[in-house]
Symmetry: C2
């Protein structure tokens, strides 16, 4: 299936792996790229050294195009982006910040840049920066979708942008791929579907849970990490959302942010002062995220279903098995093609 | 375009007009049915006599199949359903209640019954009642969608039901129709798109506003009428949601429900006692709705943009003109067919 996205990124199928912390690791990225999609490495919980190592590891596992994401809101993200540029990573995906300098630098070596957006204002700005495409996150997506759903966001962006749109949110099978293309997208990014595959490093407990849960079993709240965020409806998630960011949670953010500093190998005083200097709203946001990060890690890595929290999309309710990455991609494309042919027969 | 829904309902195009109070009046219903879709009369604000008159009026305006809806939560709805059955209305659409007796009676004269649902549990029950199809309301829809979006709800229902699914929520053009069919729907119901047409009785002020607003410009809250409800983001809507149902609003519900009693020509004491007898939760719900009804009426009829409230879907942001009903239907089908053919060319 050829679309503007397969052409742009030099890939076989218009399917991307979303960059998810602790999930989109080198082996997953390579598995998706080797199967003809495009894997995106998550760098949010990596320091610069780990980022460089991960990129090189991917290159050992695949000679196909791949990418990496940076959430510019986080401490250390700009430094990671710098590493991606030095390593000439074929595709860089940025979110939650101003990535114009990434576009400039990436285009110098022929790299492509995708901006993750939730609305037309940000999408237009990304286009002005020279981004090559946008990833449009609908309300139903895992983590940070906003109010507008894929069904309305994708056609709105597709009508108003010159660069192609990649739909993220709600896509878990060939029906979703065909529908996204019908709405005007040129490709899809899948997170929740890839999370529950053989190769995914997601803890078995959560793979099993993802199969049991239905489309109704997600929570959508601003009280998990300070942004609108969709997570799997579990005891741990309900607790975290009930707590929100009360004073005790603010205090807990201190050790949690210390472990983030360690994780990112940033000097702690530098992180701390940097965060305070960035203003109260931002500091609060980062405190929220420091706590949230910990809860996501104990879900994905430790499989803690009582206290952990896993960001997932509503599409979790459409998953019924744990296939390989290659199976997901092949059957998604095959089903989409069948759907399209069947519709074409109806049209006559 | 032939689908299970066009076959089932004996219509040319798989497009329904949602039954919207003060909008889906006989002339609108007939306009949609005459253009090859299926108009659904809204009976929520009609008494039995008006319902009978409206049905007869539609029959004078069209010899095509048409339908009518009843929201079984409301006082007087069962009586209206009785009238629809007596009049042998070809298609009856019920929501918010147990409609098994409607199915039985309608099937006796060859009528078809559609249940409006927001989840699989209700959809399965509707199928057990013998309903002929379900209308699946996604989160992005006007008024009473729940959390799950069209993109996830439609495939989930389509996979788990034998009866066909009609997608409601997010559909305003041919891309939406094609996408809904790709997700497994056999037809679509459009409300917001038909509201802003030449024939629509919606006040000009709101037709204009609908064109100005974007996909982001809706509010989704439980504090407007007590159920999760999506409305146009206006000053009046924000005020109504801020107020919620405080004690003063409870008192205001008394005259408002009196005017509903008048509107439905129900003896007020009977309505009042009936509501109280139905339990506190239900009484509170009806008090909420009594107030909400007034605000919707002054929006749709009087065009009051300061105090009125108009239920709309996110798709309002995809509307750019005020076409005739016939134009909407014809171009939606044409565009959907073009989209499908273009996708088919990509598949090869």
């Amino acid at each position: 299936m050829k679309t503007r996205i397969t052409e742009l990124l030099g890939i076989e199928h218009p399917i991307l792996l979303s960059g998810m912390s602790w999930i989109s690791v080198p082996s997953m990225v390579a598995a998706v790229s080797n199967a003809g999609g495009l894997g995106l490495l998550a760098t949010g919980v990596l320091d610069t050294e780990q980022t460089r190592k991960a990129v090189r590891e991917i290159r050992e596992l695949t000679d196909k195009p791949f990418g990496a994401n940076v959430s510019l809101l986080f401490p250390g993200a700009a430094q990671n982006a710098q590493v991606l540029l030095e390593e000439k990573v074929p595709v860089i995906n940025f979110s939650l910040g101003k990535g114009d300098w990434i576009v400039q630098a990436a285009h110098e070596y022929g790299g492509k840049v995708l901006a993750t957006v939730t609305n037309l204002r940000h999408a237009r700005r990304a286009q002005e920066y020279g981004c090559d495409a946008v990833i449009a996150t609908g309300n139903e997506a895992a983590a940070h979708g906003e109010q507008v759903t894929t069904f309305c966001l994708v056609p709105s962006l597709a009508s108003n942008l010159d660069i192609p749109v990649i739909a993220a949110g709600g896509v878990g099978d060939g029906r979703g791929l065909a529908a996204a293309l019908a709405l005007g997208a040129e490709g899809v990014a899948m997170g929740t579907r890839f999370m529950t595959t053989v190769e995914s490093p997601l803890h078995e407990n959560y793979k099993r849970l993802s199969l049991e849960k239905d489309v109704y079993d997600t929570l959508y709240s601003k009280r998990f990490d300070g942004l609108w965020c969709r997570v799997l409806d579990t005891e741990g998630a309900r607790k975290a959302i009930r707590r929100g960011l009360n004073p005790i949670q603010m205090l807990k953010a201190i050790p949690n942010s210390r472990s983030i500093a360690q994780m990112l190998k940033l000097p702690y005083w530098k992180l701390f002062i940097g965060v305070l200097a960035s203003g109260w709203e931002n500091a609060k946001q980062l405190a929220y995220m420091a706590n949230a990060f910990k809860l996501i890690r104990i879900a994905t890595e430790d499989g803690d279903t009582v206290n952990g929290v896993l960001p997932v999309g509503q599409v979790t309710g459409l998953l019924h098995d744990i296939p390989t990455v290659k199976e997901v991609i092949e059957r998604t494309v095959k089903e989409a093609e069948e759907v399209i042919r069947r519709l074409n027969d109806k049209v006559g």
